[in-house]
Symmetry: D3
Subunit: 131 residues, 6 copies
């Protein structure tokens, strides 16, 4: 028995991907990611929610704003790793975990987080973690 | 190994949400919920389906019709609780469980139900239960 | 030869509709409207845009915020008229026209506005006006 | 902790469904299936991906091309079974499992596959298998 | 200044397309068409609508039901013509025009009809006619 | 009386936008554009189509491939202009016009072209030209 709430936002970045397998995506290009952050819980709180949806949306927006409108190839935190969609999902999910653990988002009730990033109408990735 | 079938319908209701966290949503307002009901099963029946899709759609439609075009603040069954999206998901899921258990929807094969309600293009909730 | 830019936002309201034709929608209920505002122009400005997309989104958001989380049946401006989706489209469009004409949104280049409001996954309405 | 990558493609087929429960769908008709193939893995490979997305898309496309633009009622492999959406999901998933196991798609890291087929805006099915 | 209202429904058919340009679609196959019917009017009626949305949805549903779950290659009305998406749009639009003209749908106010048929996530067609 | 056919594809690019109005988008970033190309015609050809959909999709794909996975800031053809979504729409539309005029796409019947580029779930632009 699991409840979940999802909020959607987006970010636009530039990057390149290293490795022959990426073909033309080895060149500097970019992407819009439509980002869905899902918060899971086994029960609702006293207000009847999994998480305050306004605070959840703000937390996601803050995390995306710190990444948005940047060339990820030049961000020190991504030095030496490919900023693939699946990796970015885990980066954003880990930051949401932090918001849950240290900022009290969800008031202790959140048991899992899923981040899905849609990079086009025909491809997306996700990362799912239990707390 | 899990099969699933999902049918989509919608409902439109009025309500208000009690609690400071809800901000302007404490006022009477309303929502369209696009509702997805998913039926899961470990195997297909003799017809090759999880559930008769016509009967599943009818069951969902009947449940939604009983809630639609109403002010949920005035419905006795919701007295004292917030009709948040996540709670409404569980209300609808429990009624589908009943349809599975007592009306024979799915012919005994259904092992789980998920209800997802989309309240806008940027927010949705779900409730998932195993049978 | 026409350029256009569209921004999407949403609002949630309660209302009822008077007239037998509306059936159960004569009862107090509500809706989420996903609202698309389109600005048309025959040419781009010096920045290469139809309208500053940030200002367009802000204008739409402000107009929707003034209507959101309300029971439209109790708003004096809608006394005696049905707040159907098509009428709400024209209300929002007229306010966008005002933003174009008096606030300088679009810098004089906007030649038309379209507002589309999606009330569910199976129904929407729009209003289109030339300036 | 699970990563996933999904690619989308589609196929168009004719078929009929045997059994009274199918009503008018017992007649020869057809469908467009928008097909989502999801690959899951507990970790990323050295390139930072779950699976080479180009190879995944090609594998899915090849599997769909072998079924597309056909009358499934006349295909020997479907003799005596109903080609329901849920069954077609499992057929495609099993072929993707083969691509993972024998063609090396995913380089040994793929731990699960999900195939979802959308047959209209109000109905879809899926099949999920662990490797 | 134009108002419009759109309702969505769908149909599933089998057919083949004659002509080398159609490649594999020359074989018998099928499609799901998600069908959007738009009614346009220069003004709203006394109820504040372009058309009674319930009657519009019923009119569309009846037209689609007469075509659904059939092999269009065997329907006398389509003998000798290709039932391409764009042609089917015009067939459905002409029947809606009839509903407007002879059944009084829209009460005399409808000035135009558009039918859009989505045959997959990457292709659609439409037909637009003024009354 | 107008028929139309639309095909969808996408491209991913990096770029920056010059001008204070663009705020953080003045930094190098990128976008996925989901691109819809619409071909309009007053009548169908002998095959019953507006345009050979396979050739239309190929023409669009070729135009997008020439722009994809690039940093548009470094492309000589865009020197000194902002590659806003609305401008990119017109660039792609003009190339489709060329395909219609010089490559015979549409066999002389195409009377208009519309290109719509979706840059996120909340913003898109389009360019429409008559031939």
């Amino acid at each position: 028995m699991t409840y979940s709430v999802t909020v959607r936002d987006h970010m636009m970045i530039a990057h390149s991907l290293a490795g022959e397998a990426f073909g033309p995506a080895q060149r500097l290009h970019g992407a819009t990611y439509v980002v869905d952050a899902t918060f899971r819980a086994p029960a609702l709180d006293a207000d009847g929610v999994v998480v305050d949806i306004g605070r959840a949306a703000d937390a996601l927006h803050g995390i995306l704003a710190a990444l948005s409108y940047r060339n990820l190839d030049e961000e020190p935190e991504f030095a030496g790793v490919n900023t693939t969609t699946e990796r970015l999902c885990s980066v954003i999910a880990e930051r949401l975990v932090l918001a849950v653990r240290t900022d009290g988002l969800g008031g202790g009730g959140v048991s899992g987080i899923v981040v899905t990033m849609r990079e086009s109408h025909i491809a997306w990735a996700s990362f799912e973690v239990e707390l």
